[in-house]
Symmetry: C2
Subunit: 338 residues, 2 copies
């Protein structure tokens, strides 16, 4: 298997990307293509004494800025490290692509360079969010599409199913529609329509509406919503992670006796913190395009990059793209019968 990595994406590129690539190559017995500034990557390899066995560098020094108009990836930035990586993926030179660069550009580039799976209306971003059950749920769309139609929400459920079954090995994952009430008639027109579409889809394990209150309690495997709502949920969850971390610090480091108690609790608190740590879950899969694409966090370090590559590996290994294509073809047939 060969995973393509955007060597210039993220705050700590290219050094941490390279370190992550090296770890992934060792652990997963794969090979890697890194796109980016060849000189800088080779310098970093030398400085960090990282052997480049099974790491091929494809020179593409240009970097698309985080705040650039995403569509520029097809124009003035079509030679950038990200665009180059996506092109190599589209050409079949690798099996999946990982980037910590601009989400907008990655989404735009994936849609127009790698292209959508047949039948997919709009690709979505999935994100794993921790819960009190220690089993995260997959939130999607986490921010790709602000304005959604109900049929898009239904497709997000299929994307989630393909990912959960292929990568997380959850059989028949439960799907909830995020809404402002649990009853069938609740919410705006978008939710009401989506509810009926999801309910009618027999291949989905649709468990109905879920209020946001139930999400941190881990009552579903897949939570479906529009990208505006998803982005709010993702970021509020991140914010609560920080809130918890600040509050625990206040409680545990107040004085000498609380610090002694903190020592006793250290292991358990670390475990809790790592449960809340988004880096543990790898990156965010971009679902609905023809090959696996993973968006790594902008602040990813070597461990986060390695985890994102491992996630890409499992996407390839679990055939999520062909799984999704199959699910959507069944959906299409069902619609044709109606």
């Amino acid at each position: 298997m060969k995973i393509i990595l955007d060597g210039m994406g993220g705050d700590l590129a290219p050094t941490e990307v390279l370190k992550g690539a090296y770890e992934a190559v060792k652990e997963l017995k794969i090979s890697v293509i890194m796109t980016g500034d060849e000189n800088r990557i080779k310098e970093a390899a030398k400085k960090e004494s990282i052997p480049l066995d099974n790491i091929e560098i494809v020179n593409a020094p240009l970097v698309i800025p985080m705040d650039a108009d995403p569509s520029l990836i097809l124009k003035s930035y079509k030679e950038s490290s990200m665009a180059k990586g996506l092109s190599l993926l589209a050409e079949g030179k690798g099996d999946a692509f990982v980037s910590a660069g601009s989400t907008g550009a990655l989404l735009f580039g994936s849609t127009f360079i790698v292209k959508r799976i047949k039948g997919v209306k709009r690709p979505a971003i999935g994100t794993m969010i921790p819960t009190a059950k220690k089993k995260p749920y997959l939130l999607l769309d986490a921010g790709a599409n602000h304005d959604c139609r109900s049929d898009m929400l239904k497709q997000f459920a299929f994307m989630g199913k393909a990912y959960c079954e292929g990568v997380l090995k959850i059989k028949n994952p439960s799907v909830a529609l995020i809404n402002i009430g649990t009853e069938e008639h609740k919410g705006d027109d978008l939710r009401k329509e989506a509810y009926q579409l999801l309910k009618a889809e027999k291949s989905l394990n649709f468990i109905g509406n879920a209020e946001a209150r139930s999400l941190p309690l881990g009552e579903c495997d897949i939570a479906v919503c529009d990208g505006f709502t998803g982005n709010i949920i993702l970021k509020l969850s991140e914010g609560f992670g920080k809130f918890i971390s600040i509050s625990l610090k206040d409680i545990l480091f107040a004085n000498l006796s609380t610090k002694l108690s903190a020592l006793v609790l250290k292991k358990r608190i670390s475990a809790f913190k790592s449960l809340m740590d988004y880096k543990e879950y790898g990156g965010a899969p971009l679902l609905g395009v023809r090959k696996p694409v993973i968006k790594a966090h902008g602040s990813s370090d070597a461990r986060a990059f390695k985890n994102a590559v491992r996630q890409a590996y499992f996407c390839v290994d679990g055939n999520i793209c062909s799984k999704l294509e199959e699910l959507l073809s069944q959906e299409k047939e069902a619609a044709d019968v109606d």
Copy 2:
């Protein structure tokens, strides 16, 4: 001052409403009107040995069910305890109204019985949400209006300002627009338009867009959004409260030595839990109607009812309704000048 209480609203009515009323009368030196089933309230008073000094009972035994169509408050439930309380408020028989009954019915009844302040497009529900700074922020709209226009979002900011200045005594409170990015051009058309309207309003201390990530960190006094998004934020925040409580229990009650540590931390953890406890903040003000109306939580106990009455007291004392009317009249003038 006279506060009207819906004696039949909430899971623990009428006993806990009565106990709360009694405590409020004692603490605030006010009088109370309780609407509801006179026999049941008097029985509860006898059983709990609560004197009815300064508590007047107005018989209205009918209760509007939580799942009833809210508009029925004007029809088959126009004699209900909630409708009766709102009518008394509209007639000037009391200064504010508190109910733990159906939010939808209370919103509908307030709008059509008490009526809106001149110029208000749609009333909104405000809610205090705890933050790591130990100073909660006011979220609105927390669920009254799923579909909002940008001018409604601007008015929510004025409602928040009137409440923060009048009740919370925060001078020139900061207002943020909840969005999926901090830059001015971010978000959908609703957010872009609202941003410009808020920015143009010189009497508001508008600090720009806020991502949901920053909300639990307490970076604004007032957070403005549509009611769908607000309801998601409110409920997700509640869900995280539970998540934290479950996680702390897991950490602290794991074994004997963690339990001993928990003893040392007990006081601080209680303080943290009470920070997360929505009952501490009273109820949710319904803003934009002519008299103060407070929605108490459905599971309110005596303490929560007392806090909700105290909140109503401060709304009256702080003249929030005339403050809002004044702010909106200035807004109107400004618009006329344009």
